[in-house]
Amino acid sequence: MSGKMRWGDSADLDGSDDDFDVALPASQVFGPDANGVKTIIDYRIKEDGLKVRTVKKVRVNTVTKKVTKEMLARKKWAKFGDAQRYKPGDESMTAVSIEEIFLERHRTTPKSESEKSGDALAAMAGSNTSLLVCRICGKKGDHWTTKCPYKDLASMNTLGLGDAKPPGEDDGPGGASSGKGGYVPPSMRAGASGGQSMGDSMNRRRDENSVRVSNLSEDTREQDLQELFRPFGPVTRIYVAFNRETGESRGFAFVNFVNKDDANRAISKLDGYGYDNLILRVEWAAPREERK
């Protein structure tokens, strides 16, 4: 049975109109298993007619307590003193804490460790090189992104690609709305028309002058490649592939150059270059579509 269940449906099913539960499977109980976890599966119908399957996992914790005859006898003692006024079991003097109280574990980090981490932070704060990274050319510690000497180059190459049409004089799908001068979402704007979506332009940016570097050693980081490729010309992007689960390097990277000539020179010089005891393979990166 799918979707909404009406009372009429259930009446049709079993010929009686008294209960919904007939259509529901019986609740099941599994366990407790080796870890003492009991699984209870319940089915019910919500007020709006939807069937709900509830799976409850309960850890069963059995505590054995030995009780002597004397202790049992003491359990039946009559109340005395001030407690006499109260009925047995009805005690306003006792309450269970509403709050769950935990044993708050006291963690003493070894002093040397905490000092070390403090040093690392101090070192990072001291040398602003690692904190100051240009987002355009990727150079660290040299200048701010806004002051990048390759700013013009980069923006030219990454944004105004392909379409020579200047924005505004377009008659694509977004043309009608753009004429009124209201807000136009980026995907509907002139530059994005003609079947070229935003995603394409992003891909293009990635593929532009992209060089694939493979046979890298596992400890190679972006910074190392920066040092390696920077002498050939301004670099817009460096991406080192890491395995998402293990965090290990997958042994290849992509380096994007601002200029195609720089990329060419880098390929000719660095292909077959010995780096970290490995022989690098540097080639033009294949476009995404082809790799699929």
Binding site: T94, L103, H106
Partner: protein, 334 residues
């Protein structure tokens, strides 16, 4: 863990005691009614009505039939645990002992000897009379109970004797008090056998281990110390960041629980921002803190472990007792 709150007392708690089987819980407070609770669910069984002053300590016999309480009303009463009736009172002016005529002073610590044949009562310094420890017989037959003091000693003690315990084999009585000195008294001769001057401030609580080979002391000098009960050698020191009012030893694990907190009077004169009213659990051997359990909104005055080691109760200046049935997580701590 959801602690059970026992809300019977109207004044700060002073002392908590479990019976031998761990099913009954006795609480004493500065209101005049020691109270009996079921230790598992916290149901109040009854109150012992008869005292006329703050009740400082209590002790219960091995068979859980007789409760003895020491009170600031200068009496020490013996109660039938089940019915809550007082069957004997060690009354001021009725006890005759050498060299004084009677004990006229507030009773502070009471402790039953192993075997429940004797008990010791410590009395506070009062009207120029210094603190002393008195030993009285406990009659098996209640009708035969007398107020005769068997022995009395206390020479050299300054200030109150806050706690008195019977040492191993009833050979000594261990006392700790305002002068910060732990003394082992020879029960036979009444002389000081050994002294330990490790604490810098007054001692609030003493608690023997299950096998009575060692005991822990709680002091206002913000430490608790573990002592050998034969030699009074200080074995371990547990440093806390607040005055310690009570310290107990887990009967099943090598753990120590400390309770205390900034004294209400000292809150305004100290820079401490937090009250530190939580109970701290320490490794007995490593002296390292394991964790803390919070809940009270006043200093913790009293602590007691259930003899089965699976729960403990704290009593606070706030008038509440909290029964902590410890989670399985606690027992997995290594």
């Amino acid at each position: 863990m959801r602690p059970i709150l026992l809300k019977g007392h109207e004044r700060p708690l002073t002392f908590i005691k479990y019976n031998r089987d761990g099913d009954l819980l006795f609480t004493c407070a500065k209101d005049h009614h020691p109270t009996l609770w079921y230790a598992d669910d916290g149901e109040r069984v009854g109150t012992y009505v008869g005292h006329n002053g703050a009740v400082w300590t209590c002790d219960v016999t091995h068979d859980s039939r007789t409760l003895v309480t020491g009170s600031a009303d200068t009496t020490c009463k013996m109660w039938d645990v089940e019915t809550g009736t007082c069957y004997f009172t060690h009354q001021a002016r009725s006890i005759h002992w050498f060299p004084y005529d009677h004990f006229d002073q507030p009773a502070r610590a009471v402790a039953l000897a192993q075997g429940d044949e004797k008990m010791c009562i410590s009395t506070d310094p009062f009207m120029g009379v210094p603190a002393r420890v008195h030993i009285v017989n406990v009659a098996a037959n209640r009708e035969e109970q007398t107020n005769e003091i068997v022995a009395s000693f206390g020479d050299g003690v300054e200030g109150r004797i806050n706690r008195a315990l019977w040492g191993p084999l009833n050979e000594t009585i261990l006392t700790g008090g305002e002068d910060g000195v732990i003394r082992a008294w020879d029960v036979e001769t009444g002389k000081i056998k050994l002294e330990a001057r490790d604490h810098k401030k007054q001692i609030q609580h003493l608690c023997l281990s299950e096998d009575k080979t060692h005991f822990v002391s709680a002091s206002l000098d913000k430490t608790a110390k573990l002592f050998d009960s034969e030699t009074l050698e200080c074995l371990k020191t547990y440093v806390a960041d607040r005055p310690v009012n009570a310290a107990i030893i887990s009967p099943i694990l090598d753990h120590i629980v400390l309770g205390g907190g900034q004294d209400a009077m000292a809150v305004t004169t100290t820079s401490s921002k937090a009250g530190k009213f939580d109970s701290k659990i320490y490794f007995k051997v490593y002296e390292e803190e394991i964790g803390s359990i919070r809940g009270h909104f006043g200093p913790v005055n009293a602590l007691a472990f259930n003899p089965d080691g699976r729960s403990f109760t704290t009593g606070g200046e706030d008038g509440y007792s909290r029964v902590h049935h410890l989670d399985n997580d606690y027992f997995r701590i290594r």
